[in-house]
């Protein structure tokens, strides 16, 4: 890889780290200005002012915000997110379990939805303005317009309750085999696929149609290549950067935005964990979850940027 390309990549990476720091400040500041007092929340309404004051002292809440931020950040960098206020459990190990569950779900949803979206996009281009294109567009628009909880409950009703093919609740535990796990998450995977498919499919279609106007597509057509070979061999490689961008945004959504789906299917992932602890005003957990969501988002978008840079032949093979 040429040096200026490596420099560009390093630059993107540094920018990502900077962005992450900035979002950690935002998360910390955001949780500080929330109404209510942590000590109050822990001890409940009946607590005496002395007890609250003691607990504040004990928790270090009287320290200045900057030093609390720094010690929180330093801890987080070492994987130490502190302990949950509500049950005193170590947040790091609780999150590790939840995060791996969420990533497991996101991975399978991505594995189904990304290739499917690109394939459908290619088919839509191949049959542009004919019935397959219209059908794909209409169905994907419909699925993106219907809220995911509606789709979720519909599937639950028909597939799980009426047909009894899969369980309606997606429980996971370590003793399950991979096959059992997959059966358990089948419904949320389908619902998530429906949610993210349309974006990626429509972006693929639009980008490739744009590339199809290029003179080199005419060259390919005049070589007598089949229509599909023209699209997949000549148009797709030049449409990679925008497609990767929207794919990454949707992957980020699969991790960060699964809250509703996880709650519907009672799936033990990050989303449910976050919702539970927001309800309980468990600030350290909210902070930790926020930081992890931000990292995932920034990491995926950074990856999209870097792929975009590397996919450009002019940058990869300079004169």
């Amino acid at each position: 890889m040429p040096t200026h390309l490596i420099l560009l990549v390093i630059q993107r990476f540094a920018l990502g780290v900077l962005l992450l720091l900035a979002s950690s400040v935002l998360i910390f500041a955001g949780t500080q200005i929330l109404p209510g007092d942590v000590a109050q929340a822990v001890l409940g309404q009946a607590a005496t002012p002395e007890a609250i004051a003691n607990l504040r002292e004990e928790m270090g809440l009287n320290e200045p915000a900057v030093s609390r931020y720094l010690s929180w950040l330093l801890g987080a960098l070492q994987g130490d997110f502190g302990t949950a206020l509500t049950n005193g459990a170590d947040i790091g190990s609780a999150i590790a379990k939840r995060l791996s569950n969420t990533l497991f779900l996101a991975f399978w949803a991505a594995l189904v939805s990304v290739p499917l979206a690109i394939l459908l996009g290619l088919i839509a281009v191949r049959f542009r303005n004919r019935w397959p294109d219209r059908l794909i567009s209409a169905v994907s628009l419909a699925t993106i317009s219907v809220p995911e909880f509606v789709i979720g409950y519909l599937f639950m009703f028909f597939v799980a309750v009426k047909l009894r093919w899969v369980p309606s609740v997606s429980m996971l535990n370590d003793s399950m085999s991979l096959g059992q796990k997959l059966q358990s998450i089948a419904l949320p995977v389908i619902v998530l696929t429906f949610v993210v498919l349309a974006h990626m499919m429509r972006m693929t279609r639009a980008t490739i149609l744009n590339v199809m106007e290029a003179p080199y597509i005419e060259t390919a057509e005049l070589k007598g290549l089949s229509r599909f070979a023209v699209i997949s061999r000549h148009a797709l490689p030049n449409a990679v950067a925008p497609i990767v961008n929207v794919v990454m945004l949707n992957l980020a959504y699969l991790v960060v935005g699964v809250v509703v789906v996880e709650v519907i299917f009672v799936y033990p992932g990050m989303g449910q964990y976050l919702v539970d602890h927001v309800a309980k005003r468990d600030i350290p957990v909210v902070q930790a979850a926020g930081l992890i969501f931000a990292s995932v988002y920034i990491l995926l978008n950074m990856t999209a940027d870097i792929i975009g840079i590397v996919a450009n032949p002019r940058l990869r093979h300079p004169k």
Partner: protein, 549 residues
Amino acid sequence: MRDSVTHSLVDIRGLKIGATVFAPGEKPRDIEIVHGVDLTLEKGKVLGLIGESGAGKSTIGLSTLAYGRGGIKITGGEIFINGEDILKDSTSDLRNLRGRKVTYVSQSAAASFNPSKRLMDQIVESCLSHGLCSRKDAERRAIRLFEKLGLPEPETFGNRYPHQVSGGQLQRAMTAMALCPEPDLVIFDEPTTALDVTTQIDVLASIKEAIRETGVGAIYITHDLAVVAQVSDHIMVLQHGRMVEYGTTDQIINNPCEDYTRALVSIRSTIHDETPSRGQPVLKLENVSARYRGLNFDVVKNVSVEIHPSQTLAVVGESGSGKSTLARVMTGLLPARDGTITFNGDILPTALEDRSKEQLRELQMIYQMADVAMNPRQTIETIIGRPLEFYFGMKGAEKRARVVELLDEIELGEGFLKRYPAELSGGQKQRVCIARALAAKPRLIICDEVTSALDPLVADGILKLLLNLQEIEQVSYLFITHDIATVRAIADMIAVMYQGNVVRYGAKSKVLSPPFDDYTDLLLSSVPDMRLGWLEDVISTRKMDSAGN
């Protein structure tokens, strides 16, 4: 299999081609572009298709692949390739025709290669997808073609990406791509038009050699009769989708029958007598150097030239020689890094912002692309009236009267006042741009490649107009061009630029007479001559390689 001996390679009968036009605010309507053309081509022969833009030559060329750009459709007639009516072909038959029996070389190879694939992958693609030979054999064929076409390092040339090779090399690579599947017919669609003249000659010579060696039949499309005269056996002249004349190359060049053909043959005949340098120079550049930000070398190096009243200084050179940058330096868009510019005896501030309104008025510009130099939503009256208002504060009837006067001067007339740029032809648009520059009553007009985007006959009209206006308005021109024929037609003084330097400067009669320096010799000898055998003569007597290699 049909008996191939009895059939011509191409036999086109009564070909009609139409398109659907979607004009904004109107109902889509069908127009006819080609109105019944007949054409035959025997195996191994080369037919030149010549005509101006809109003549239908590319459309006819692409019809032999049963292909139409955009909404273009073949609406009538028959096209036989080796005796097979390709308009009756199924989709799979067409695939078998394209890229195997008939291949295509486009004007802009730079845009016609896929930027994200290596050249070799694209060049052997036809062979592989049609199952003509193994990848190894196809690559061997390609390398042999690279050698034949004079490409550098033929063994490894194919490993490069399109952006890693020059324009002339890409054009040759595209020729290799077209010849690789060993087709019966190659369509060359203006393959050298986008190239510099010294590069064009090499590409032209290698294309001609490749055609001769492979014995392939070819249709060579161009607007330049002198170019097509070098490669073709027969020539067909087209105008507005109809055939005007057809004959052997010798007959068309030496004994044209039709008036239109005669006009095309005699096109480079505008002659202008030199105006001597008199009085104080309008513009004087002394040791001017300039560079773009971020570059560590000068793009214009130590240039000293003068332009006298009512004179035309032609700055001639190839792309990248610094001639347009020189214009930017004069206008102040790119402030000179070193040297002085004197205008009407006063030192001109180098930067645009530091110049007075009067200085701006006296130095006007006309550009190559007339359509992008005008606001498409303004009428011609507004466009030409704007400098009148801005520099002279004219209003109402006075302004309109002056606009009409200017429209008369550019031979368009009052009827154009309320028209929009989109309703004008290319030549008319350029005339409006000239009127707009004249409206400011400048002492000097910088003309940057103003005729390069126009058809030869239209360009000729523009040059004649510019010369007339020079006599009436006593204006000086700085005329930037890559075309020697234009220089001969219009210049009094000439500056030849090469890699940022002025390598030759002086009166036209001196600059264009021997003894020449090597570069000027190369430039002059590379301009196609309207005679048979010119290409062979010039290749054998060259002293210097072209800049494209």
